[in-house]
């Protein structure tokens, strides 16, 4: 069996351009909302995690802009937008 690559290594092969703001934010007060827990499982880049206070936190770096968390969690708990033009992932193969 070949060695499993870390998510960091997987995402490291992609081209990302930094944005001047976070394009997805957890709405204040919803960090522990049950709907947000779905993000822990559905994000292909594994960017959602739980902190020691049991709140869901999002590390936006490496976002593939796939939209899965928006569908899974809903717009009541996530303030979701695409990155600004000229920012975010730029697929070279797609």
């Amino acid at each position: 069996m070949s060695e499993r690559r870390s998510m960091k290594a997987k995402l490291g092969g992609n081209v990302f351009k930094p944005d001047r703001e976070r394009h997805i934010n957890i709405k204040p007060g919803f960090e522990k909302d049950a709907r947000l827990k779905a993000a822990l499982f559905v994000c292909p880049a594994g960017l959602y995690s739980l902190n020691e206070e049991d709140e869901v936190v999002l590390d936006i770096d490496g976002c593939l802009e796939c939209g899965t968390c928006r569908i899974a969690c809903g717009t009541e708990v996530l303030d979701w937008n695409y990155p600004n033009g000229e920012a975010g992932v730029q697929f070279r193969f797609g």
Partner: protein, 428 residues
């Protein structure tokens, strides 16, 4: 406010196809794309079937930068410790014009954009459309980079989450049951290695679908497509199942485990992973389609929900191209009447109804329901694997009759459930 005849949001297959047709008619059309280049934000599995769309974009296919024409179709049913594969190869699929090709979108979409620009379309990249401008209920333009741009018609080709259709008040954010997530790695291999490994001659390609234990009982499956010098390997999983099925699993771990299967390891050994991508896929079928037209607006491609699971194939790109072309034709008709109201633009729906697009959606309208059956992703692959394992096993004792081995693997209750699923399967 600057005004164009038509504004198209999103330089994917729907938007670029619409732009190409409109530009050929001499209509002033601008495509606004948020990526650095067309295709920069687009993902496919992927394979494109050319036959359905050849007539909609005539004359361009000979030069299209497609990868390999698919001559080998494979289906693999996976259990936790075995798998059953079928490989179908056809000389017919190796004859020109080839009927389907593997494709990489960053290459293909850039090329299609160049064709649209050559025809006279204007392409603006690196610009996100932030809002839709409405006047008395009619869409009259968009806002991008703080600037207002007007148009007779706006075409929302901005993909599965269509913010344009949402801001125009045509849709609300989608429900998990109507969508899946696709994950993909592109893994480079030297051409000759790839051809030897997959048993391919020249530009022949293979398309392999996987179902069974890789999704751990969830709606979905895996895919492998050979490109010229790379493999597209990934999987698709229903979002509702990812949320609801216990125990929960992080979707990217499913892909890792799939890649570590002994069926996959030798295929990608020594390959160089060069990209990891993901995208939401509409899977709602006919019931998941959005409204297609409004006053001053049309919706095409994934934005409209035009992606269809047909059981052994999931198709989206042909519907995107055809719907883009038909949106353009509807606009041409509306221009002749100088009326861009919903009632005039409704001819778009009619064009789609008369084409393979809506016909396929109607033919396969029961597919999402039939496939929403965890037995397809668990029981059946395991049944097939266990049966073959027993049939092929020669133990130290005497070998059982084949009919007894089958009977042992298939109880009466299971046969009845299988009969019921088969009847359901007849609907698709």
């Amino acid at each position: 406010m600057d005004k164009f005849d038509v504004i198209i949001v999103g330089a994917g297959l729907a938007g670029l196809s619409a732009a190409y047709v409109l530009a050929k008619e001499g209509i002033e059309v601008v495509i606004i794309e948020r990526g650095d280049y067309p295709g920069a934000k687009n993902v496919t599995g992927g394979r494109l079937y050319v036959n359905p769309v050849r007539q909609y974009l005539p004359d361009i296919w000979d030069d299209a930068p497609l990868e390999r024409h698919v001559t080998n179709e494979m289906v693999t049913m996976m259990s936790p410790d075995n798998s059953v594969s079928m490989r179908f190869r056809s000389d017919k699929f190796d004859q020109k014009p080839y009927h389907s090709y593997t494709v990489l979108r960053a290459t293909f979409d850039r090329w299609l954009a160049a064709q649209a620009e050559k025809a006279g379309a204007m392409l603006v990249t690196k610009n996100r459309v932030d809002d839709v401008i409405k006047e008395q209920g009619k869409v009259i333009g968009v806002v991008t980079a703080g600037e207002e741009l007007g148009a007779d018609v706006v075409v929302a080709c901005d993909g599965v989450l269509s913010f344009v259709a949402e801001k125009a008040g045509m849709i609300v954010p989608g429900q998990p049951r109507n969508f899946a997530v696709g994950l993909k790695e592109v893994i480079e291999l030297p051409r000759t290695t790839l051809e030897d490994r997959f048993g391919l001659t020249g530009d022949e390609g293979v398309a392999q679908m996987f179902m069974g234990s890789l999704t751990q009982g969830r709606f979905g499956g895996g895919f492998l497509y050979t490109n010229k010098a790379s493999v597209s390997l990934g999987m698709v999983v229903g979002i509702r199942d990812l949320i609801e099925r216990k125990p929960g699993v992080e979707v990217h771990l499913l892909l890792d485990e799939f890649k570590e299967r002994p069926e996959i390891v030798p295929l990608i050994k020594g390959g160089e992973p060069v990209e990891y991508s993901a995208h939401v896929i509409p899977e709602g079928g006919l019931a998941g389609l959005t409204p297609l037209f409004g006053d001053g607006i049309l919706v095409a491609g994934d934005a409209a929900g035009f992606s269809l699971n047909m059981g052994i194939t999931v198709r989206g790109m042909e519907f995107a191209i055809a719907s883009g072309v038909m949106a353009a034709r509807a606009i041409i008709e509306a221009r002749a009447k100088n009326d861009f109201s919903a009632s005039t633009l409704s001819c778009y729906q009619q064009f789609l109804e008369n084409s393979f697009v809506m016909k396929d959606f109607r033919t396969f309208q029961h597919t999402p329901h039939v496939l929403d059956n965890s037995r397809f992703y668990g029981y059946y692959p395991q049944f097939a694997g266990k049966l073959l394992e027993d049939l092929y096993t020669v133990d130290s004792g005497p070998k059982a009759k084949i009919s007894d081995t089958i009977r042992k693997n298939l109880s009466l209750g299971e046969s009845l459930r299988m009969g019921k699923d088969l009847l359901g399967g007849l609907k698709i």
